[in-house]
């Protein structure tokens, strides 16, 4: 029996051991929250709780996979039966277990259904889909146009034997609430509690149903999905909903340098809606945050490329001849995946990606790879289900679908990962589970860890990730906080987003802002984000790259071969 408390600090221990009542774990960034949750599960099982009585809910499928891997590594078969997944996956399981047969209606399918129901353009249908989704997520009553459409829409879904993603949350809650499904756990752990939607909250209450101990893990300072309906007050008022709950605060940050932690804390302190906590860094002091002013979005991208190359000792002879000390055989320990460039909005990705591409630096824009191939894959797998034989394995399936399949592709790796996750189940069920998961993968799960490349992503996508060196691009008024095309930016949520971005960095943090920028057809004022003035002065090193006197277009080096 492994020592479940080994290596845990005081607060983590408390979070693991407090199982006789509800518990709120306020976990700052980099404080080992996944580790704590994994050990908590181990502790519960060690105390004799049946694995099938334990539920661990994560925010993304990727997070669920990671947690499953870690739990499995720690407990092996002892943990068989613990449900680790997103609310959506859980809802799906509840519906299937209740005997419902249906397929999942994706956002594309939704739009199509609505188009036929409303007889309108795709754009109108898409907007309506979002409207309906909001209603369901926020557990509101529909108003205006939506009212008329919703019933027809739900009818159409029913006729087509489909459920949309939001139904995966709402319907199970209905079923359990009405007593038509008996589903419950004695211990529920919810990660990223600060970002759950009212719909998910309702499902949680149904599942907890007075018998479960709920352990909510999260950070009020990292609530960034308010725009999708998440209500921070659920987190702040936890004890109102779950009486006599204990509170444990995880304050020791193992991820970042002290300077980064303190800089981030300096910013987030200015929010009022939060649970007060002072993070301390366990690691080295590190270097000040670098704030750098550049001419425009192109020089911004070039700056990032140069900094990456400098740390990697150059990526081609062409560039090395430009470096100050090309024969400094300092031992570089970086890989491309150690770097990330974070931006507030997808419109910023192009300039970055184009520059990276021009300089040949491998990069991966996260959230970009369209799930088109995946849809084809899902359809193929569904076809497989109908011609099923018991001895089918994942390799067999893949080879059946695509004889030319390359074992090194991301899809293959994903399938293999899922196959391993459901390996214990009877093959037909495993296949069904795999299909379910594939159907629900969102853009947040598109991050392919095998491809070693610099990650380019929005700040939202960066949640839960960490990198040795982080570049925050476009830290300017209008972008951070994001105000383009919005009347009222929720300043506190924007500040939290900024905080999340800062706390992704382990060793170095660069905050870059351009003096001139064109974004979404608009020319921006080009002044640095006000959040930067909230970082204590002594933790920042400021620098500026002057304007280029005249632009040289792609000067080619001499033909020295």
């Amino acid at each position: 029996m492994t020592d479940t408390l080994k290596g845990l600090n005081q607060a983590q221990r408390e979070a693991v051991l407090t199982t006789d009542r509800h518990l709120l774990v306020v976990a700052g960034p980099g404080t080992g929250k996944t580790l704590t949750i994994v050990r908590r599960i181990a502790h519960l099982i060690g105390r004799g709780i049946a694995p099938t009585d334990i539920l661990a809910v994560t925010f993304t499928n990727r997070a669920a996979r990671e947690m499953r891997e870690r739990v499995s590594a720690l407990l092996g078969n002892d943990a068989r039966g613990v449900f680790i997944g997103t609310f959506h996956l859980l809802g799906l399981r509840i519906l299937r277990d209740s005997g419902m047969e249906f397929s999942i209606c994706s956002r594309e399918d939704q739009t199509q259904v609505l188009q036929s129901v409303m007889g309108c353009t795709a754009k109108v249908a898409k907007d309506m889909a979002e409207s309906i989704s909001r209603v369901k997520n926020l557990v509101e009553t529909a108003s205006g146009e939506t009212v008329g459409v919703m019933d027809a829409y739900q009818e159409a879904l029913k006729k087509g034997g489909m459920c949309d993603f939001d139904d995966l949350i709402g319907l199970p809650a209905d079923l359990i609430g009405e007593g038509r499904a008996a589903y419950g756990f004695s211990h529920i752990i919810v990660d990223e509690y600060q970002d759950i939607s009212p719909g998910q909250y309702r499902l949680l209450r149904c599942l907890a149903a007075d018998r479960a101990r709920v352990c909510a893990v999260g950070d009020s300072d990292q609530a960034i999905y308010g725009f999708r309906g998440a209500d921070l007050r659920n987190f702040l008022d936890f004890r109102r909903d779950f009486p006599d709950a204990a509170v444990v605060v995880l304050k020791e940050n193992y991820r970042s340098t002290q300077m980064i932690v303190d800089a981030a804390s300096g910013v987030i302190r200015n929010n009022r809606q939060r649970i007060e906590k002072e993070l301390t860094a366990v690691g080295a002091i590190g270097r000040p945050v670098t704030l750098i002013s550049v001419e425009d979005e192109r020089t911004e991208a070039e700056f990032v490329v140069r900094e990456i190359e400098a740390r990697m000792g150059g990526t081609s002879h062409f560039r090395i001849s430009g470096l100050a000390d090309p024969v400094d055989f300092s031992e570089s320990t970086y890989a491309f995946s150690d770097f990330a460039v974070l931006f507030r909005t997808n419109g910023q990705a192009k300039a970055l990606r184009d520059t990276f591409s021009a300089w040949g630096i491998p990069c991966q824009v996260v959230g970009e790879k369209a799930p088109l191939r995946r849809k084809a894959l899902i359809d193929d797998l569904k076809a497989q289900l109908s011609t099923f034989t018991p001895d089918l394995d994942v390799e067999g399936i893949i080879r059946r679908i695509n004889p030319e399949s390359d074992p090194s592709t991301a899809e293959h790796a994903l399938l293999a990962n899922l196959a391993a996750a459901y390996g214990g189940l009877p093959a037909k069920e495993a296949l069904a589970c795999i299909i379910d998961e594939l159907s629900m993968l969102g853009t947040a799960d598109a991050f392919d860890p095998r491809a070693d490349a610099v990650a380019l992503m929005t700040m939202h996508m960066a949640k839960g990730l960490e990198f040795r060196v982080v570049f925050m691009a476009g830290a300017e008024v209008g972008i951070v906080p994001f105000a383009l095309g919005r009347e009222d930016a929720d300043i506190e949520e924007e500040r939290r987003l900024f905080y999340v971005a800062m706390t992704r960095a382990k060793e170095e943090l660069f905050v870059v802002h351009a003096r001139k920028r064109f974004l979404y057809g608009r020319r921006l004022p080009g002044s640095p984000t006000p959040f930067l003035s909230e970082v204590p002065r002594e933790l920042v090193r400021t620098s500026a790259l002057p304007d280029n006197p005249k632009k040289k277009e792609g000067k080619q080096m001499g033909l020295f071969g």
């Binding site: 990697m312 000792g313 150059g314 990526t315 081609s316 002879h317 062409f318 090395i320 090309p326 024969v327 055989f329 031992e331 570089s332 320990t333 970086y334 890989a335 491309f336 995946s337 150690d338 591409s357 021009a358 040949g360 630096i361 491998p362 990069c363 030319e404 390359d406 074992p407 090194s408 592709t409 991301a410 491809a451 070693d452 490349a453 080619q556 080096m557 001499g558 033909l559 020295f560 071969g561």
Partner: protein, 424 residues
């Protein structure tokens, strides 16, 4: 039959590469140089691949010919005309972290046909960006790349490129490995050769017993037509993909290489340019790696890296070692003979004149009888070629960013020979 092969060049789609590196240009210059089999280079680049598909046709033996309609006779002097075969090749830059350190390895891949090259390209396109540069940079472990290559084509050839350059090679001091096995692990037996590169010659490589079973090949890595053939391989086999790769694998029919003087490289020796200090590796060690003039650390060169990894003394020649010749490209020889730069108009005119009368460059440098050369060229030029053939050149090795110099004549000698000429 005997022929010369230069299997590593770059297309116009590679960074800092001449626009003339197109199939027609490569075809023309291969004849001028005397190269019979030339690597296509850059087959991973979609546009170059399309151009190869369009302009070349397969011989049926794993090699390609330029389509008849594109073969312009007027660019090539008659004595130089010869058949030119293309072999599908490409170079990939693998930059990744292994065993705690950043590694940067350039890898050469030869493919027997377009279909399998296309398969590899497809697989690579899923890993990263192969459209920006003829030599793509991928965040991919070289071992993984080897595995992918072999899975697609067991008869593909995978060769670590320019094995000793400090920054982008398998043994490079900055980001390489100390041994092949560290890089390729259990797949190491699939490596049959290394490319010695401009910065090393066979004798330097003979100092590592670990390389004894490998073939040491040499290619130009040319980014412009004039640089083609500055290093090359000599074969006596059928002109087919299988025979050539078999020759590389087993040394059967592989007769040796033509080399660039490694001392010309700007990081051959160790030293400190600012202080004018240049040391051979043993002296560097004696001086404790420190510059005697200013006390700062000396910049370490390629020879030193060989010294560090070598398990034999300099001068050792392994039993199966193949012969090699160190040459200087003809334009540079002419430059020195005429007292101008290698790119001057005078050199160009003389170059064309000599090729038009004596045949291709390799023929002039290696085979043409000296009396024939003397009849056509000036005494200075003839003497220069004679000296290069016999290795009678003085070499001042490069160090710390300063190019090395290979000289054929002393000033005094040049005046003497010139004087002789005017008397005849």
């Amino acid at each position: 039959m005997r022929f010369i092969a230069d299997l590593h060049i770059h297309s116009s789609y590679s960074r800092a590469t001449s626009r003339d590196m197109v199939p027609e240009g490569v075809w023309k210059w291969a004849q001028l140089k005397g190269i019979t089999v030339v690597g296509t280079g850059d087959f991973t680049h979609p546009k170059w691949f399309a151009e190869l598909e369009e302009k070349l046709e397969p011989t049926g033996h794993g090699l390609f010919l330029l389509k008849e309609a594109l073969c312009r006779k007027d660019g090539v002097p008659r004595p130089c005309v010869g058949e030119v075969f293309f072999l599908l090749s490409s170079e990939i830059s693998c930059i990744y972290k292994k065993n705690g350190r950043t590694r940067k390895i350039h890898c050469l891949i030869f493919m027997p046909d377009l279909i399998r090259a296309a398969r590899l390209n497809l697989a690579l396109s899923r890993i990263g960006n192969i459209t920006s540069d003829g030599r793509p940079i991928l965040g991919l472990d070289a071992k993984e790349l080897l595995k992918m290559t072999l899975d697609i084509a067991p008869d593909a050839m995978f060769i670590p490129a320019h094995a000793w350059t400090p920054h982008f090679s398998i043994f490079g001091a900055a980001s390489g490995f100390d041994a092949m096995e560290e890089c390729f692990e259990e797949l190491t037996p699939h490596i049959y050769a290394v490319e010695t590169g401009l910065s090393s010659d066979p004798p330097m490589n003979w100092r590592l017993s670990a390389l004894d079973h490998l073939s040491l090949i040499s290619n130009s890595d040319a980014h412009s037509p004039a640089k083609m053939g500055r290093e090359a391989n000599l074969f006596e086999t059928d002109i087919s993909y299988d025979a050539i790769t078999e020759g590389i694998r087993t040394k059967k029919g592989f007769l040796g290489t033509i080399e660039f003087f490694p001392e010309e490289g700007k990081y051959h020796y160790d030293g400190h340019r600012a202080c004018g200090v240049s040391y051979a590796p043993p002296d560097t060690i004696l001086h404790g790696y420190v510059c005697p003039m200013c006390g700062k650390r000396l910049t370490i060169g390629v020879a030193h890296r060989v010294e560090v990894l070598a398990d034999r003394e300099a001068g050792f020649r392994p039993p199966r070692a193949l012969p090699y010749r160190c040459l200087i490209p003809l334009p540079e020889i002419l430059g020195e003979a005429l007292g101008t730069g290698a790119g001057s108009k005078a050199v160009h005119e003389e170059y064309v004149r000599l090729l038009s009368t004596l045949g291709n460059e390799f023929n002039i440098l290696l085979d043409a009888p000296l009396p024939d050369i003397e009849r056509v060229a000036s005494p200075m030029i003839a003497e220069a070629i004679r000296r290069v053939r016999q290795g009678l050149v003085t070499i001042k090795p490069g160090y710390d960013g300063e190019y090395g110099r290979v000289k054929i004549f002393e000033e005094r000698e040049r005046r003497e020979i010139k004087g002789q000429g005017s008397l005849l």
